[in-house]
Amino acid sequence: MNLALKELLYKMADDQLILGHRNSEWTGFGPILEEDIAFSSMAQDKVGQSLALYTLLQTLGESDPDTVAFTRNANQFHNCILVELPNQEYDFSLIRHFLFDTAEALRFEALGNSSYEPLAQLARKIRGELRYHTLHANTWMKQLGSATEESITRLQNSLQIALPYALGIFEPSPYEAELIDQKIFTGEVALKEKWMAKVESVLNQTQLHLPDWKTITPVYGGREGKHSEHLQPLLDEMSEVFRIDPSAEW
């Protein structure tokens, strides 16, 4: 049980940390002040969620959260590739936020019933925070996805780029059956089904076009430590001060 649970916790914690980090890069650069502030709030939530998940891992015998987050290399990270991609323009950041947080909300909804009680408790707390993330994403998707020709075109292009990576969120896990069996998690396959329906229902309220799912080839690899060229530089930056002296207290 331990390995399966750890794999699940690591990939979720790494997802939150890396996307939180990316979201925080919008601070000072948002298209309007209110979006600076919103992305910063979501960044704080996500990094806080990753800390809570790493703390759970520590109780299972892993190193302390700072060591785990600030000293591993890219190939030791289990986040999906979607979250490590650079922010690019606001349209890409918004699309990623929408696709990822729709999945997150459903994931933590399901985990609220996990048989592993510490995770179930944490999931119920995180679920409450994510409600605001999806509310934010859906509001902006509906507004920008039906506004000007430019906003619709931009979102459509970013959607095409992001969708293969978004399917990578649900990269098959070698522990899928075990997790389901032990009622720790309902599994990536079930999550993906729910996610597709939710994504469709929001996109249907916009002028954006969702391609046939069958035509999209998922980009996998992240869950087993195979990342794009963007993750290592992100980690180098994140640990720049920490590595000056990892034994020092900052």
């Binding site: 298209p31 960044a43 990094v47 507004q143 506004a147 930056e237 720049e240």
Partner: protein, 327 residues
């Protein structure tokens, strides 16, 4: 964060001759009684103009001030610092939002203010034209630049314009957390390794001159501001603010065992601090655009505005009209 010193250049009080003397007297009597002026109340043009200028500069300082610290969010060492710094810089952006709204109550829109910022027409606090080379520079800002800002803002919160005072009260409450966070970071550097101590000493050496500039030119050379003091727009002279800051923070810096790079710095028997007069020529040069980071700071704002234009366009709907924010 904000240094008030650069706000009041080129004041022409002869414009008061055009105001209705009876209304002007009633206005001044209200302020003398300690009443707050609200957006729909009568006010002299000069009062309106100076307030817009002051609040706008303050708002710009918050959003430009988010940049030198913001670059360290992605590099903050450890979870505790990363999360605190994110929240802190977010607060600063939130202050900008609050202050632009306060300034809007006087009749200038946020868009106009942002345009004036990126076209170089409006100023912002000079200190943000200096670079943050290391984590210790970022800690210096969080502790001591915020401390300086609090000195200014607590004074201004007792001013006469209602919406600005109310915004400042909220801002000061948040800044007091920034100060604690910044102090905490510096204590860790002070009590850490030799390398950490050296990092902060070097940051202190770099930032001390801009910190002394922060409160604006010496009273001996700064513009006359008696009218603004009477109207409670400006609540203290630059030297008074600087002295208050030195009084509160020099002992704390010394307590941590750091050396302030000014051999003349000491407290006189009359309770006033004596120091080497900062280089006011450099101050003027930097405020007029020739500092180490002026171009970079404005360029970042310009790019952010240009990249976000399509978003702002897409938010407009035909039914929308401009609404002055609630005061």
């Amino acid at each position: 964060m904000y240094g008030g010193g650069n706000t009041f250049e080129g004041l022409k009080t002869d414009s008061l001759a055009q105001e209705d003397p009876i209304r002007l007297a009633a206005f001044e009597a209200r302020i003398a009684r300690g009443e707050k002026i609200e957006p729909t109340d009568w006010m002299p043009q000069l009062y309106r103009k100076q307030l817009i200028r002051m609040i706008e500069q303050h708002a710009h300082s918050e959003i430009i001030g988010a940049l030198p610290e913001g670059t360290w969010i992605t590099r903050a060492p450890g979870f505790k610092r990363k999360m605190s710094l994110m929240a802190k810089v977010q607060d600063e952006v939130g202050h900008a939002q609050l202050l632009y709204s306060a300034a809007e109550t006087l009749g200038k829109s946020r868009e106009q203010m942002v345009d004036d910022l990126i076209n170089g027409k409006s100023k912002y606090s000079n200190i943000f034209n200096y670079p943050t080379f290391t984590w210790a520079d970022c800690c210096f800002i969080s502790w001591l630049v915020d401390a300086g800002a609090i000195v200014n803002q607590l004074a201004n919160a007792k001013g006469s314009y209602g919406p600005y005072c109310r915004a400042l009260e909220r801002i000061c409450a948040e800044e007091s957390f920034h100060l604690k966070y910044g102090h905490h970071c510096v204590i860790y550097l002070a009590s850490g390794t030799a390398k950490q101590r050296q990092m902060f000493q070097e940051a202190l050496n770099r930032w001390w001159p801009p910190m002394m500039h922060f409160f604006g030119p010496s009273d001996k050379i700064s513009a006359h501001t008696e009218v603004l003091m009477r109207w409670k727009v400006k609540m203290g002279t630059n030297d008074e603010m600087r002295n208050q800051f030195l009084d509160m923070y020099v002992p704390k810096i010394w307590e941590l065992g750091f050396t302030i790079p000014d051999p003349s710095l000491k407290k006189n028997e009359n309770g006033k601090w004596q120091y080497t007069e900062p280089d006011w020529e450099e101050f003027k040069r930097v405020i007029n655009g020739d500092g180490p980071c002026n171009k970079e700071r404005l360029e970042v704002r310009r790019i952010a505005e240009a990249r976000g234009k399509w978003v702002r366009e897409a938010l407009k709907t035909p039914k929308m009209s401009y609404a002055t924010p609630l005061a």
